[in-house]
Symmetry: C2
């Protein structure tokens, strides 16, 4: 098994002694930049998988968008980027609401903007239940009503009433504004809703925020929700998690962490220690956590961070379930409402929440 | 999102009309050879992951073994390859048995060779339970006592008495010899053991054989076991499953399906339709299947086929649980007995089986 190449892969292993000694004296900064050494994997061809549904195949076949490489150079450029993306999302929402029979109403709780997202009908057992939604978008995208897209899918496809939080975001509001808002709304919701009847969910940044909201709620001695759903949580803001490397450019939803994603992490973290569990919940203590549903895809840049959260939860005795979708990149199971994968995801989530939430 | 490269990824989409028409007339043979077109993913560097335990780090850091590229040219060469590998494994077994306090005794059931693998002690609830073990090794490797390695780990680390089947293999005995033997032993075991107290488990080829054994048992109207454990089942012998491509040379345990692995599939299949669920259980009907535990790693060449089995089982209403280990390649969680990942895998399996097997 061991062959020549194998001997050069460990940090310092191929350096002359003196250089190695100097290296050891330099403080590691692995969390803010990717490791520079490793094993080289050759280029490869990814066929269009026959194992995804026809509805998703063209999306899965697409090359990654080069826009992930471009970093805004000013606050104005950030706002334009975010605003343009939000406009594109907003344009699609009326049709999505219509197709799924979902209504959306703005509200304010504890001074935080939010939206009630309500399906035309829902199962009797879900009448008294509420899902708190923390939207995705790299902690920067999807302000205002643009953030309700995933909530509309969940309301329509899983049959729950959803409260979607329009939390504050960078560039104006770095950490901990988003978390403050999420916890404030949860605290307010607890005034009218038994905790066991509340689920918290989100995808990507929203999945991570779901986890940090529960960690902070516990820290503040609030009762915990009945269950959580974290779709591909970006649960580690440091440069850690093997699929960040193995699935770079394999994931065509995000492409790479280098560039735009890294920039979103920097403007969110704003100098805080990225290893703080309230920024990177994979480092949190999950003892006593509510049952958790975790989702990823085999091509997902955040596959590793999803399975790391799963393993950390299992080690802490949490009733945590993992679901991984074949050949899908980051969050692609919440993109196309009529794809079987999207239905399947929401069916699984509905069953999971039904099994764990109080009525 | 859509960019120029995206338009060239679908089969025929970049061919001139005439060539496309000719292509369409050629019968597709996608299941016996990899698709030739697709999206190119550039070479990348895989750092040694800090997210695996120190005990596994050097194994994870190794370059894939070039031996996976070499295909034996004759029956004699196959036997030498298999024999040499078995000798290396056998040499390690006495120390493994000693370290884990496990004894191994040869036996014969229904004319099939097998081994009773018994831990020095086991929990009271496991006294009446037996696990049927189908070893891995690409349907070709690990004949005789070499096949007991995984059984020794399971007996010692999970606390079960194990019956490990020394099923017949190619080049002398292609499909369905292995399946015949597995089902014959299961049928014999049913004479002394209530089905609910039997679990069936295996890794890789053994994981797939675990699934086909249950499918065949159901076909023969045998009562089904209480639970199954399929570690990274090579459940699709056709060229299907996205991680065969995405994780090629990322997985350093197998490297690539091309070469040796493909050859093992051909000598096992021996002309049978590889899409037959008794060869490729991912195409099977899982309705009524017992609870199933599935495991893979984020770098696993068979990650896709593991998650496809999980999804197929979930769609059929099976109580199926998925566990994916961070940064591990094919089956690396059953390689190093004292690695935390290996302990964790066997702890999870023990909990799962305890929850689902009768006493």
């Amino acid at each position: 098994m061991p062959c020549r190449r194998a001997r050069c892969v460990r940090r310092t292993s191929c350096l002359p002694g003196l250089v190695a000694a100097l290296w050891a004296a330099v403080p590691l900064a692995a969390e803010t930049s990717p490791p520079a050494d490793g094993r080289v994997v050759p280029a490869r061809t990814l066929p269009v998988p026959a194992t995804v549904s026809p509805q998703l195949r063209s999306m899965v076949a697409e090359a990654p968008d080069d826009e992930w490489k471009t970093v805004p150079k000013s606050t104005a450029e950030w706002k334009k980027l975010v605003g343009d993306a939000a406009s594109r999302t907003l344009a699609k929402l009326p049709r999505l609401r219509e197709a799924l029979g979902v209504s959306v109403e703005p509200t304010t709780l504890a001074g935080v903007k939010a939206f009630w997202v309500t399906p035309r009908s829902r199962p009797a057992r879900n009448q008294g239940r509420v899902l708190l939604h923390l939207h995705g978008g790299a902690r920067v995208f999807n302000p205002g009503e643009a953030g309700t897209r995933e909530a509309i899918l969940m309301a329509g496809l899983a049959g729950f009433r959803v409260l979607s939080v329009d939390y504050r975001m960078p560039p104006d509001f770095p950490y901990p504004a988003a978390l403050d808002d999420a916890v404030a709304v949860y605290r307010e919701l607890l005034k009218t809703q038994r905790p066991a009847t509340i689920g918290i969910f989100g995808t990507s940044a929203g999945g991570s925020l779901t986890l940090t909201t529960v960690l902070r709620a516990r820290k503040e001695n609030l009762p915990l929700p009945g269950a959580v759903v974290a779709g591909t949580p970006t649960a580690d803001l440091t440069w850690t998690g093997d699929s960040l490397f193995a699935n770079e450019w394999v994931d065509n939803s995000l492409g790479t962490r280098k560039g735009l994603i890294e920039a979103t992490i920097q403007i969110y973290g704003a100098g805080h220690d990225l290893r703080d569990p309230l920024l990177s919940p994979v480092y949190g203590d999950f003892h006593g956590f509510p049952p958790a549903f975790l989702a990823s895809g085999t091509r997902d840049l955040y596959l590793s961070n999803t399975v790391r959260v799963h393993r950390a939860m299992r080690a802490a005795g949490v009733d945590a379930a993992l679901h991984v979708w074949e050949a899908l990149s980051h969050a692609q199971w919440v993109y196309v409402p009529d794809a079987p994968e999207t239905r399947e995801y929401h069916d699984e989530v509905a069953r999971f929440l039904d099994a764990h939430l109080g009525t």
